[in-house]
């Protein structure tokens, strides 16, 4: 397979990579393991993951580490607000909609009220138009259905990188 100039790709066969990087295996093993190395981001992006679900936070933080993007996690909207209030700066906030203490729209409204200009992206496993509207009306920028895949995350980060 060939990809455009400036990108590189490799096939990672779990434990079956021969020393000369020749792969032997079947199609089923091939599926899902092609990895494209993305271009690095020009700016120092800093991302805040706001979600009361530990699994989502762990996966998202791992994706950010893999992309060599600095990430931090908040367990709910209140903690996210506290980070900003303490002077922390983020370029992107990925926020769950339903959380205890302060949900996504409430957190968004509060952050915008504080003058936060970071890109605020909502995430939900259960999208309704009403939720989406509420979030966007509160000052949110975009809304994604969970799971936020690596592809979506890269596209989002690249768009922010180019805007800055």
């Amino acid at each position: 397979m060939a990809f455009g100039a400036g990108s590189s790709n490799y096939m990672k066969m779990k434990g079956m990579l021969k020393e000369d990087n020749v792969y032997e295996g079947n199609v089923l093993q091939l599926k899902g393991i092609l990895k494209i190395r993305d271009r690095s981001f020009k700016k120092n992006l800093r991302v805040l993951i706001v979600d009361d679900d530990k699994v989502t936070r762990k996966v998202m933080m791992a994706m950010l580490r893999d992309l060599k993007v600095e990430g931090k996690e908040a367990v709910n909207g209140k903690e996210a607000v506290d980070f900003f209030a303490a002077g922390e700066v983020f370029t992107l906030v990925l926020m769950d909609m339903e959380m205890p203490f302060m949900n996504g729209p409430e957190t968004t409204r509060f952050l915008r009220g504080m003058g936060v200009r970071a890109k605020l992206v909502g995430m939900s496993a259960h999208l309704t138009e009403k939720e989406q509207k509420e979030f966007l009306d509160a000052g949110g920028d975009e809304f994604y259905m969970k799971p936020v895949t690596r592809t979506k995350l890269v596209a989002l980060l690249q768009a922010i990188d180019e805007e800055l």
Binding site: G15, K35, V59, M60, M63, A125, H126, K146
Partner: protein, 152 residues
């Protein structure tokens, strides 16, 4: 190297993983590397722990029909939908969505039925994931032996 029997089992397991999981699960495998060699195991174990806590909470909420807190139920279901989505467990996620719909309508019978389906699907998934992780572990061990032998 793995024997033919083990290879066939692995192929079957891959097919089952495709059936049960969104491609997100493949992405978890991508995130496993030398710096996080047990990442998939850690995420899956965390998912099990959190899901079983939520299932216990859901069952407790449905104990008394007269005082069922449907709002709290929605919160728990949302969390389980989120974590299931994050590891790519699409069937569990979809059952949670149906369950949530029953809870939003205050449909106690519907919730009880949904909980049973959810528990069944979750434990089926858990068993399959355990098998998958065991096969993965065996493959890593086998490869370690293969590389060692080829270098001798």
């Amino acid at each position: 190297m793995l024997g033919l029997g083990a290879c066939n089992l692995e192929v079957d397991m891959n097919r089952l993983i495709e059936l049960l999981f969104h491609q997100q699960f493949m992405q978890l495998q991508h995130l496993q590397d030398e710096s996080s060699p047990n990442f998939v195991y850690e995420v899956v174990t965390l998912y099990f722990r959190e899901s079983e806590k939520l299932l216990r909470n859901l069952r407790a909420l449905l104990w008394d029909r007269e005082s069922t807190d449907y709002k709290k139920m929605g919160i728990h279901l949302n969390q389980m939908m989120g974590s299931s989505s994050s590891i790519g467990a699409k069937r569990v996620r979809n059952i949670c969505a149906a369950f949530r719909s029953a809870s939003e309508h205050g449909n106690w019978i519907g919730c009880i039925q949904s909980l049973e389906v959810l528990e069944h699907e979750y434990y089926y998934l858990k068993n399959k994931l355990h098998e998958f992780l065991q096969i993965e572990q065996q493959r890593v061990i086998a490869v370690g032996r293969t590389i060692h032998l080829s270098r001798q």
